[in-house]
């Protein structure tokens, strides 16, 4: 349902953008008749509903249409870009999830002590900085001054896994900074709540060692809400990286959409956005599933 609404919005959004497709492709000096002819070939002069139906029915069958600009099927571009984006997201994800959770847990265990303040304030300050600011700063530090890391994410052809990883570290750092504060804060508040709970008191008063109390009784309950947040952020990691991908000249789905939007390449634009929508939906589904697996109250709620 959400995806259906998204597809309509994307489609209409593309239509109301000013400008003429044929004109955009052929340039300002082309003959008007040529522009009209091109528009006709592309089908953009058909009624809206027909255009939408043609696009969406093909999309559902796996055919994303033909790019106006490249005059070739859209699907390979989108899939390629999606794969690249996922690589970048995966690197950022692997970095930020454990460190973010650890930061939050450590902060909560040292509530109101200096370590907590450093983590909370630090996390918050880097989170509020937009990624293009942190991105540029990081490029300057690691790429230009220290020369530790390549400033572009575009790795050489046929690069191996580790080379790719090496190229992806710098672009993933701004993402790490954006998400770290967020995840740490969720983990921290979840921990604080769980530590204050009656069941933690029960566990402590049972005489369990502190370590057991934390590992067995606190963590699982404390991190449930964080899992949901992380999963929704997965969508952002894959779809919302226009700025980062542009900054690091990375062929991800964000930059693909950006290019398509500039060129009024609707099939590409619409398919790209819809693909991101699907990724979001899947991520949320996985989050709900994970949450219910970890939370017996939801898993078994219906047999009561």
């Amino acid at each position: 349902m959400t995806l259906f609404l998204l597809s309509i919005m994307v489609f209409l959004g593309g239509q109301v953008l000013p400008g003429n497709v044929g004109r955009a492709i052929l340039g300002p000096f082309a003959d008007q008749r040529a522009v009209d002819a091109l528009n006709h070939t592309l089908g953009v002069d058909r009624p809206l509903l027909t255009q939408y139906w043609g696009w969406i029915s093909n999309f559902v069958q796996g055919d994303m249409g033909t790019s106006y600009i490249f005059r070739s099927p859209v699907a390979p571009f989108v899939i390629d870009a999606l794969g690249n984006s996922m690589k970048l997201a995966a690197v950022a994800f692997v970095l930020v999830v454990p460190i973010g959770i650890l930061g939050g847990v450590v902060a909560a265990l040292n509530l109101n002590r200096p370590l907590d303040r450093i983590i909370s304030l630090g996390g918050l300050s880097v989170t509020v900085l937009p990624e293009f600011v942190t991105g540029i700063i990081l490029i300057l530090i690691f790429g230009v001054w220290l020369r530790w890391l390549p400033i572009s994410a575009a790795w050489p052809r046929n690069a191996g896994f580790f080379t790719q990883l090496y190229y992806l570290i710098l672009p993933s750092l701004p993402l790490f900074l954006v998400l770290f504060g967020y995840i740490a804060r969720m983990a921290r508040s979840g921990m604080i709540e769980a530590l204050d709970s009656d069941y933690t008191r029960t566990a402590v008063l049972k005489g369990l060692p502190w370590r057991t109390v934390i590992w067995r009784h606190v963590l699982r309950n404390a991190l449930l809400p964080t899992i949901t947040v992380i999963a929704t952020q997965t969508g952002y990691l894959i779809g919302g990286l226009v700025v980062i991908e542009t900054l690091f000249r990375y062929q991800g789905i964000g930059s693909l959409i950006f290019t398509a939007a500039r060129g009024k390449d609707f099939p590409m634009l619409e398919s790209g956005i819809l693909t991101i929508g699907i990724v979001y939906a899947v991520a949320t589904l996985v989050a709900d599933f994970l949450y219910s697996v970890l939370n017996p109250r939801i898993r078994l709620g219906s047999d009561q």
């Binding site: 069941y199 029960t202 008063l205 009784h217 309950n221 939370n295």
Partner: protein, 676 residues
Amino acid sequence: MTKSAKAKNALELTDLSVAYRVAGRNRAVLRNLSLTIGQGEAYGLVGESGCGKSTVALTVVRYLPRNGSITGGAISLDGQDVMKLDAEALRRARAESVSMVYQDPGKALNPSIRVGRQLTEIFELGGISGQAATDRAIAMLNRVRISDPTSVMQRYPHQLSGGMQQRVAIAMALANDPSMLILDEPTTGLDATVEAEVLDLIAQLRQELSASILFISHNLAVVSNMCDRVGVLYAGMLVEEGPTDVIFNDPRHPYTVALLRCLPRGGQRKDQGRLDTIPGFLPGIGADIKGCAFADRCALADDRCRSELPPLYDLGGRLSRCFHHDKAQALPRATPSDVAPAPKAAAAPVLRVAGLNKTYASHGHALRAVKDVSLDLRPGETLGLVGESGSGKTTFARLLLGLVPPDEGGTIELEGKALAPRLENRSDDQIKAMQIVFQNPDSALNRSHSIRHLIGRALKRLAGLSGKALDARLNDLVRSVRLTDRHLAVKPRQLSGGLKQRVAIARAFAGDPRIVVCDEPTSALDVSVQAAILNLLADLQSKEDVSYIFISHDLAVVRYLSDKIAVLYLGRIMELGPSEDVFSGPHHPYTEALLSAVPKLDQTETARIRLDGEIPSATNPPSGCVFHTRCPRKIGPICEQQEPPLSEAQPGHSIRCHIPYAELARLQKAAVTEPA
């Protein structure tokens, strides 16, 4: 009993002082508290909320909140100085010698770990693991009378009922045979029938185990039934202490005297006189107390009381912290007992309900929350709704208010006119004629508005007033619920629970209602505040001729305020009649069991009737009489096959039971109890 356990006391508090740090200042919560609990003794600690009861418990196990600290004194547990223990020794003490059970077992158990695991981990601490630990856990669950322990071990806490959860919590607390068991309001929030079961269990376990008990409760009756000795706590100080029956029958501190007077006892009713109240408020934590802490609220107080702290007078086996302990019982009433004669209901019914049903769909099954309820209510009358949770009390109230529509067929008539099933379709007059007061005024009042705004808005919406007329009515209304002008400017959170409930009552009365539904209006309040609210409701009723539908789990409170009682079970009326008839009997076996479950202050221990098991699921009610599965007076197959009709046993008094009225009378005569 005090002196007999000289050898080694289970718990000794000596001059214990505890403070909470609030806004950068240490505020005293416990002030030089000394008490001793002997081996095997059960000691009750009573007092109103905020007097420091729970702080005592948390201090003993060294689990004070982050901002709490022990500022003086000593705690000796089984001869061990608790304050000198290092982390490891403290952990061992918690594992081996002291356990605690508290309110709300649903929160006390870890929601994501199976019950069995939560038990076995205790035995693992003692080096017992695997099958041996499982066996021990099962034995422990057997001990707390859980009938199918193997399957309970596999369940998660939320799959158990409240009573079962509390049994599991008690099993966990007793697993390592502690020498000291602290029970902090262990039955508060449970149904009366479940409470009775849990209390029975604790009493039985006391015989089997050696643990001494510190029993903390605001419920004086519960403490009086469970404890050998009792201490009365006020503002963090022990004001009176002694053997339980002596303290409750012959109190020697004005605070104890006043507390006991706040309770409706011995079947007291609203037309027999107001309840006494305690004026004023408990001193806030950290208040600077010169002299007697209770002096400000005590009619016996003189200059000496206000300037000099009374010592704990030893009155021979009992203590009282009062200069005037000899005349404490002569404490003048704070509220005159005289009442205006209640208007006698002669008029036509204000409310008439006929054949009301409500069926919910629950996972494809029909859940009959209310089944075939018919009754009527006259102006100025109170109908008390009684029954365990899940009996349909609240659903019935919601049907009346139009918050949920009833099934087709039933009728609700207000002053002779049929009411639309849904609130949206009722006229403004009908809506303002029926109002509600909730249990929790905190969530019922919008926190961001002032009291003036809250009541003023109700007057505008319900009474259609504005300008000068509104102000005049507002002042009237505020005075009639005994609030003063200075309360008007503040926000709800600046008021105490009792004052907030007054605001909620004022709001309900803004549109001159004919009927006010009171859904557990005093359950969250202390007894002294409860008394004031009950008085207020009774006064408003006799003045305005308003009718109440009063829902409460506290039968003494229901009895005090009600003219008529409806006893509900699985959505059906089991008994309906005048309050006195229903309470004094002969009554339905279910009513009999409910009354028998209530802990009573006046310890007339009679044969108790206990209901086994839980209220059955309304999606699959038992055949025949729905109560037959738990009925102590079941007579035979007829109970399982035929649903008895609600038949009139005496004029106005109907009972749904196969046993004839005369037979019920004969059966119950043997065990007639003097209820609450």
